[in-house]
C-alpha cells in the first residue's frame, strides 16, 4: 500500500509508531502528484517546497515528543482560502497574482495542528459553478473518468482526494460545492452547520451561505478534520458561540433506533434511475443496521433553487465589488476611473461570475428589492421551517446528493439553468443552515460514483457522522479507487 492512498487516521498511527516519517508521506504524495496531476489537473498551485519544509518541521517536533493532531499530514486547500505568502486566486484572472499577507482562520488552525500544505486546488471561479469548468485557468478532470467533470465548485479538492494527490482536503460549500463534487468523485464531503467553522479568510461568494468543510477518503477522517477546523472565531461574528464536541467520539456508535427521514420531494423526475437505485439501497442498508426509515415532506423544496439564485447572487454582486483594479489583483488601465473599472472587471471576471453579478445587482435594485431579495428571504425562512418541522420527527434526512453522476465536460456549459439544477438536492441545506454530508453509496453502470446525502439538525454533525460511519462500515464503496 502506497502512503498517499491512505487516510489521516491510518497515517497518524504509523507516524506515531515511528514506522514512517512525515517526509515519507509528503514524498509519496508528491510522487503521486507527479504521476497523475497531468491527467487530473486538480491543483492551481502545488506547494512542494513549503510541503517538504512543513514535513521536516513535523518530524522535528515529533522527535521532540510534540504530538499534534495533523502533524505531517498533507492536505490540499481550495484556492479560495487565504494562505499567507501562497497565492490565493479563487481560480480567477482578477486575483491571479494575489498573495495574501494574512492567513485564514481554518488554515491557521491546521498549521497549529501541524499539517502539511500540499497545494491550492482548482475551483469554479469564485466558487460559482458545479463542474469546475468555470475556473479561469483550466478544468479539472474526474479521476473515475477523465472525460468527465469532478463536480464543483470544490472540484479540485474532491479530485485531489479521489486521485490520492493529497490525504484530505478542505472545500467550501455555498449551495453544494463540497457535497456534490465529493459525490461525483466518490469521496466523503461535509458542509458543517453555518457558523460551525470560521469564514475568516475564505474569499466570500455568498456570506450567509458559505461554509468551509472537509473532503476526505472516509468518515473517520472527516471527523478528525472537523475537530481541527471547528469553533467560535472572534474574527468572524457569524461563527457560533457553541461548544465543539470531539467529533471522533461519534464514530462507531450504533444507529439502532435512529429515525431517518426520506423526503418525497427529492425523488423526482430528472433523478437518474441509477442514482435512485443506489440511494434506495443505501436506505435499506441503514434500516438493516437498525434505523427506521419514515417518509417526511419538505414542501418548499421546489423553490430552493430560485431562492438560492436570488440570495446568493445578491450577496455575490456586493462581495465581488472590491475587485476593481484599484488596490490589488489584476488591473486593466482605462482612460479614466470608470473606464478602468469596466475594463478591469470585463477582462478579469469570467462569464459565469459576470452573469451572477448582473443577476444579483438586478435583484437588489431599487424597485425590485421587495419582489426578489425580500421575497427570497421569506421563502428561505419557510425552507428553514420545513427542516425544523421534519427534525421533530426524524434524526437525519437522507437524499441523493446529486441527481446524476458525473457528466461529461462541456455537456452543460451552454445551459446555465441545467448546470444550476446539479445542485437541486444540496441547496436547501445551505439555505436552512443545517449540516450535510455526502458519502459514497454505489456506482453507476459506467462505473461512476454515486453519493448519499445525510442532513442533520443545527449543530448536530455528530449524528450525521454516526450514521455515515455506520453506513460506510457496512459497505466497501469508500475502499474503491479509480484506476489511473
Amino acid at each position: 500500500m502506497e502512503l498517499h492512498s491512505l487516510g489521516i487516521a491510518e497515517l497518524r498511527r504509523m507516524l506515531d509508531k515511528g514506522e514512517i516519517t512525515a517526509k515519507d508521506v509528503v514524498s509519496s504524495v508528491c510522487s503521486r502528484i507527479d504521476a497523475v496531476e497531468e491527467k487530473i489537473k486538480a491543483y492551481v498551485t502545488i506547494t512542494r517546497e513549503e510541503a517538504f519544509a512543513m514535513a521536516e518541521e513535523a518530524d522535528r517536533e515529533r522527535a521532540g515528543g510534540v504530538k499534534k493532531a495533523l502533524s505531517g499530514i498533507p492536505l490540499a486547500i481550495k484556492d479560495n482560502m487565504c494562505t499567507r505568502g501562497v497565492p490565493t486566486t479563487c481560480s480567477s484572472k482578477i486575483l491571479k497574482n494575489f498573495v495574501p499577507p494574512y492567513e485564514s482562520t481554518v488554515t491557521a488552525k491546521l498549521k497549529e495542528r501541524g499539517y502539511v500544505l500540499s497545494g491550492k486546488t482548482n475551483l469554479d471561479e469564485f466558487a460559482m459553478g458545479s463542474s469546475t469548468e468555470n475556473s479561469g485557468f483550466h478544468t479539472t478532470n474526474n479521476p473515475w473518468d477523465t472525460e468527465r467533470i469532478p463536480g464543483g465548485s470544490s472540484g479540485g479538492s474532491a479530485a485531489a482526494v479521489a486521485a490520492d494527490e493529497c490525504i484530505a482536503a478542505l472545500g467550501s460549500d455555498t449551495g453544494g460545492s463540497i457535497r456534490q463534487p465529493a459525490a461525483l468523485c466518490g469521496v466523503v464531503g461535509m458542509k458543517p452547520t453555518y457558523g460551525r467553522v470560521s469564514r475568516y479568510g475564505l474569499v466570500a461568494f455568498a456570506s450567509s451561505l458559505d461554509q468551509i468543510g472537509p473532503i476526505t477518503k472516509n468518515v473517520t477522517d472527516c471527523a478528525i478534520l472537523l475537530n481541527a477546523i471547528s469553533g467560535r472565531d472572534l474574527r468572524d461574528c457569524t461563527s457560533a458561540p457553541v461548544e465543539v464536541p470531539d467529533f471522533t467520539a461519534a464514530i462507531g456508535k450504533e444507529i439502532k433506533g435512529m429515525k431517518i427521514g426520506v423526503p418525497k420531494e427529492y425523488f423526482i423526475e430528472g433523478l437518474d434511475p441509477a442514482v435512485e437505485r443506489a440511494v434506495r439501497e443505501a436506505i435499506g442498508k441503514l434500516e438493516s443496521l437498525g434505523a427506521t426509515a419514515v417518509d417526511v415532506s419538505l414542501p418548499h423544496t421546489g423553490y430552493a433553487v430560485a431562492t438560492y439564485y436570488v440570495l446568493a447572487t445578491s450577496e455575490a454582486s456586493s462581495n465581488l465589488a472590491r475587485y476593481d483594479g484599484v488596490k490589488y489583483g489584476f488591473r486593466a488601465e482605462g482612460k479614466d476611473l470608470v473606464d478602468t473599472y469596466m475594463k478591469t472587471r470585463a477582462a478579469g471576471f469570467g462569464p459565469e461570475v459576470k452573469r451572477r453579478i448582473m443577476l444579483g445587482t438586478y435583484a437588489l435594485s431599487s424597485g425590485y428589492y421587495d419582489a426578489y431579495y425580500k421575497k427570497a428571504q421569506q421563502v428561505r425562512t419557510l425552507i428553514k421551517d420545513d427542516f425544523e418541522k421534519a427534525f421533530r420527527e426524524v434524526d437525519v434526512i437522507v437524499t441523493p446528493t446529486s441527481p446524476t453522476a458525473a457528466f461529461r465536460r462541456g455537456e452543460k456549459t451552454d445551459d446555465p439553468l441545467q448546470m444550476y439544477l446539479a445542485d437541486i438536492f444540496t441547496i436547501s441545506v445551505n439555505l436552512a443552515g443545517v449540516p450535510g454530508i455526502s458519502v459514497p453509496c454505489g456506482f453507476t453502470a459506467e462505473g461512476l460514483p454515486v453519493g448519499l446525502q445525510l442532513i442533520g439538525r443545527h449543530f448536530d454533525e455528530e449524528t450525521l457522522l454516526t450514521a455515515a460511519f455506520a453506513y460506510e462500515q457496512s459497505t466497501d464503496w469508500h475502499a474503491r479507487k479509480p484506476a489511473l
Binding site: 494574512y102 456586493s318 465581488l320 484599484v326 488596490k327 473599472y341
Partner: protein, 475 residues
Amino acid sequence: MKYEAVIGLEVHAQMRTESKIFCGCSTRFGSEPNTQTCEICIGMPGVLPVLNKKALEFAIRTGLAMGCTISAYSRFARKNYFYPDLPKGYQISQFEHPICEHGHVDVAVDGETKRVRITRIHMEEDAGKNIHEGGGNYSFVDLNRAGVPLMEIVSEPDIRSPKEASEYMKKLRTILRYLGVCDGNMDQGSLRCDANVSVRPVGQKEYGTRAEVKNINSFRFVEKAIDYEIRRQIRVVEEGGKVVQETRLWDSAKGITESMRSKEEAHDYRYFPEPDLVPIAAERRWIDELRASLPELPDAKKVRFVSAYGLPEYDADLLTSEKAVAEWFEEAVKAGGQPKAVSNWMMGDLMKLLNGDNREIGDCPVGPERLAGMLKLIDKGTISGKIAKTVFEEMYRSGKDAEQIVREKGLLQISDESAIEKTVDELIARHPAEVERFRGGEEKLLGFFVGQAMKAMKGKANPQVLNELLKKKLS
C-alpha cells in the same frame, strides 16, 4: 408672496473611539497615509468585520442623550457604490434598522426654545480619502480614515431658518462633546453636515421639492449655505420655475451652491442587510447602565447654574456651552470664588487670553482655584480690581499664583489713609488751578485727581479711600 423654508439636517459625527469600527486599527488623525490600515479596512479578499463595542456604546449614549428609543433589534446594511476611497465597493452602514430612533434636541433661538425632532441615529464606517496631488493623470488613496466610526444624526424637517439650523448644529456639537463621543471639529471633518432644504409659501402644508446641500464644512457656512439655497429656491419659484430634486454642492469660495447630480443621476445604493455582521440586540441592562452614567447635559446644567448660583441666563448659557468650561467654573466657585465674579472673569479676561492663544480651557495655565484665590485678594482689599487685571494676566503668563505676584511686584493695595493723604496733599498743592475749578462746580475734575493720584501711586491706592480723601480735601 411670503415664503417659509423647511430644513432637515443630516449630520455625520466621527466617533472618538481609539480603534476603528470593524477592525483594531487606530483612528488617530493626521498620520502618514495608509499607516493605520490592515487587511480588514483595506478590503482584502476574505476578511470580515467585527463591531467595535465602544462605537455601539457611543451611539447608544448619544441616542439616550437625545431622548431616542434604543432599538431592541438593529442591523447593519451594505450601501453599494464604486469609488476608489471605498475599498470594499460598499459602505457598511445602517438602513432599515438604525440603532436609535425618535429623539429630539431643544434649541434656543432668539430667546425661544425650539424642539427639533431626531428621526434616527445610525452607525456607519467612514470612507478613505482621495488625494489629488502631483499633477499627473492619477490620484492617491489614503485609507487611514476608512473604517473610522461615524454616527449619522438625521433630523426631521423641523428647522425653519438658517439661524435655527446653525443653532441646532451648535447644540448637537455641545451635546456630543459633553458625552465625549465626538470632538465636534467641523474644520477637520469630524463633524459634517448635509442640509435638505425646500421652500413653500407661508400657510401651505405640503413641502416643496427639496435639494440636498452637501460639503458644508464649517460652522460659519451652515447659515450661509442654507441662506443662499433658500434665496435661490425662492428666486426660481418667483421666476415661474420649479425647484428640482437634486444634490448641490456648497462652494465656500464663491458663496454659492451648485448642482452636483440630479435625481435621475442619483445612485441606486442597493442596500441589503450586511450578512457578515449579526443583528444587534443591545441588552436592556446595559442600556440602563449607560443611561444612568450619562453626564448632566447642557440644558439641565444651565437651569441649575441659574438657580444654584444666581447667574443670569446669558452667563449660564455661555458657561455651559462646554462641559470643561462649566466644570472649571464650578471648581472656582467651590474654591471660594463668588459665582458672578468668577463668571465675569471667565467670560472676560480668561476667554480673551485663551482665544488669543487659541487654547482650550483644559490647557489654561491658570487653575480655577488660582482665580478664586485672586478674587479673595480683591475682596480683602489686598489688591484693587484694576490691579487684578494685571495680576491675572501675569498669573496666566507665568503660572504663579496671585499672592506671589502681588508680593514680588509690590502690587499690594495701599489702604493706609496717611500714605494716600500725602499724595493727595501734594497733588492739591501742585494743581491750584484745577482745585479752583473743581470748587467752582466742575465736579468731573474729580476723575482727573483720581487718575493723577493713581498714577503717582502706581495704581495701588485703594480707590474707595482715595475717593473719600479727595472729596474731603477738595471741598
